[in-house]
């Protein structure tokens, strides 16, 4: 039990959560304005198409209207921008969570649920629990460790549960030998995907790789740190290949996977590189510059 507790609340640099927060809240406006806009247009769909989901029935959420979608869309943007500043992390963060989750609810309550966005709900719910965090704060915090751990767990859970869903809805192991990926390529294949369609065994093998990678995904928590980062890289490669073949990217999930990475180390290395490359370390810009005394 003590091990679990230590693992769940592992002290983690506050700078890391501050960096992840910037990436998450920069993503939110991009998401609602550019990447995922179907909820917005539901404001114009006739209410006859509204199919309330369980959360909407419990909370008595109405069908979308033009006013509601405009409010939620710009509410997402405003609260995300406030959260981006790092001030009022809890208030801004949870307000942003409410706006984004409601906006996604509207997107999905018209008969089609995108199955890649439920985990980001918890990125937005958990991130504010870390509280105040500054980009240059070198201290480690248990609250930051928990927020990152929670995001990691939910993100990996989605892979594992995806393999389970294939067994549940794909007639058990029959899924492995089905033409599901071929169907996806026929319906929305890219030129790269079309190439693979001409070699059906390649898509077939991909299904095996995908399924077993998902099924074994929780091992990421039990391997050495170096291996863990390689596994995160492997998942990003997997998502890149999905993007290239069927033009689908699980954007919110891709942001969540960053919770595994030592973002503050990458930043410091990048800043150091820029400093060496351009002959000046931005780190020490704030300090008084020593000017050689040229007076006679």
């Amino acid at each position: 039990m003590r091990h679990v507790r230590a693992w769940l609340f592992v002290p983690t640099p506050l700078a890391r959560i501050a960096l992840l927060r910037i990436l998450v809240y920069a993503f939110v406006p991009l998401d609602v304005l550019v990447l995922h806009t179907s909820g917005f247009y539901h404001g114009w769909a006739d209410p006859v198409w509204y199919k309330p989901m369980i959360a909407g029935q419990l909370l008595h959420l109405p069908p979308a209207s033009v006013l509601l979608v405009e409010l939620l869309k710009w509410g997402c943007v405003a609260t995300a921008l406030l959260a981006l500043t790092g001030r009022f992390p809890r208030l801004a963060g949870w307000a942003c969570a409410i706006c984004w989750i409601w906006y996604q609810y509207i997107a999905f309550a018209y008969g089609k649920v995108d199955h890649d966005r439920g985990d980001f709900v918890f990125a937005l719910v958990l991130l504010p629990t870390a509280g105040m965090a500054h980009l240059k704060d070198g201290r480690r915090s248990e609250a930051a460790g928990f927020a990152l751990r929670g995001i990691q767990i939910v993100a990996i859970f989605t892979y594992f549960l995806s393999s389970w869903a294939k067994l549940r809805f794909g007639h058990g192991f029959e899924w492995l030998d089905s033409a599901t990926v071929a169907r996806a390529v026929i319906r929305r294949g890219t030129p790269v995907g079309e190439l693979f369609l001409q070699i059906p065994w390649s898509l077939h093998v991909m299904q095996y790789v995908m399924f077993f990678a998902e099924l074994t995904s929780p091992v990421i928590f039990f391997v050495p740190e170096r291996m863990r980062r390689l596994l995160v890289g492997a998942w990003y490669l997997f998502h890149l290949s999905v993007l290239l073949t069927i033009d689908i990217a699980f954007w919110p999930h891709l942001v969540m996977m960053l919770a595994f990475l030592p973002l503050e180390e990458y930043r410091d290395r990048f800043v150091g590189f820029v400093g060496r490359r351009f002959g000046r370390a931005p780190d020490v810009v704030d300090e008084p510059v020593m000017v050689p005394d040229r007076s006679p």
């Binding site: 002290p11 179907s38 114009w44 769909a45 006739d46 369980i54 609810y105 008969g111 918890f122 898509l203």
Partner: protein, 164 residues
């Protein structure tokens, strides 16, 4: 902040007992709901529903169907396929495909698409007739045979009520 304080021996910001408990409870409840959604739930459980992207098994030999909506407008009397996307009709293809039985039962739903389109695209010609068509691509051993099938499922005419 009552829950966290600086401990004297390290710089780590610690959490108090209560702060740990509610955080752990939130995470456990979320995980339990995810498991429940995956075991017995379905899409309406969102965000806890099953993670079923590409989870259905497509038979290697059979047909892959795609729905399309075709319209006649005040400018053209020939049936023309239109994009099933939110900026045009407020709904996307999958949402239409997910409610095909309701459309077949009540073709006047197709009329609401014409109205949404008129609001979203006021400058394009008004839709006078809308029909739902299923197009199927036949596949054999995971490869398209080149054979296509087409079937009209529902028709709506402006001013003619719900008669297909």
């Amino acid at each position: 902040m009552t829950a966290s304080q600086l401990t004297p021996d390290t710089d780590d910001v610690r959490l108090g007992g209560a702060s740990r408990v509610w955080r752990a409870v939130v995470l456990i409840v979320a995980c339990a709901l995810f498991v429940g959604g995956s075991l017995v739930g379905d899409d309406p459980w969102w965000p806890f529903g099953p993670w079923r992207m590409f989870a259905t098994a497509t038979k290697p030999t059979g047909a892959v169907s795609v729905m399309s909506v075709e319209v006649q407008t005040t400018a053209s009397r020939s049936w023309t396929a239109v994009g099933l996307n939110p900026p045009s009709i407020g709904l996307n293809r999958a949402e239409i495909e997910g409610q095909v039985p309701q459309i077949v039962h009540d073709p006047s739903r197709l009329g609401t698409l014409a109205e949404s389109h008129a609001e979203l695209r006021p400058d394009s010609p008004r839709w006078t007739d809308v029909r739902l068509v299923r197009r199927s691509t036949v596949i054999e051993n995971g490869r398209p045979t080149g054979q296509l099938r087409m079937q009209v499922l529902a028709v709506w005419h402006r001013g003619q009520g719900n008669k297909p």
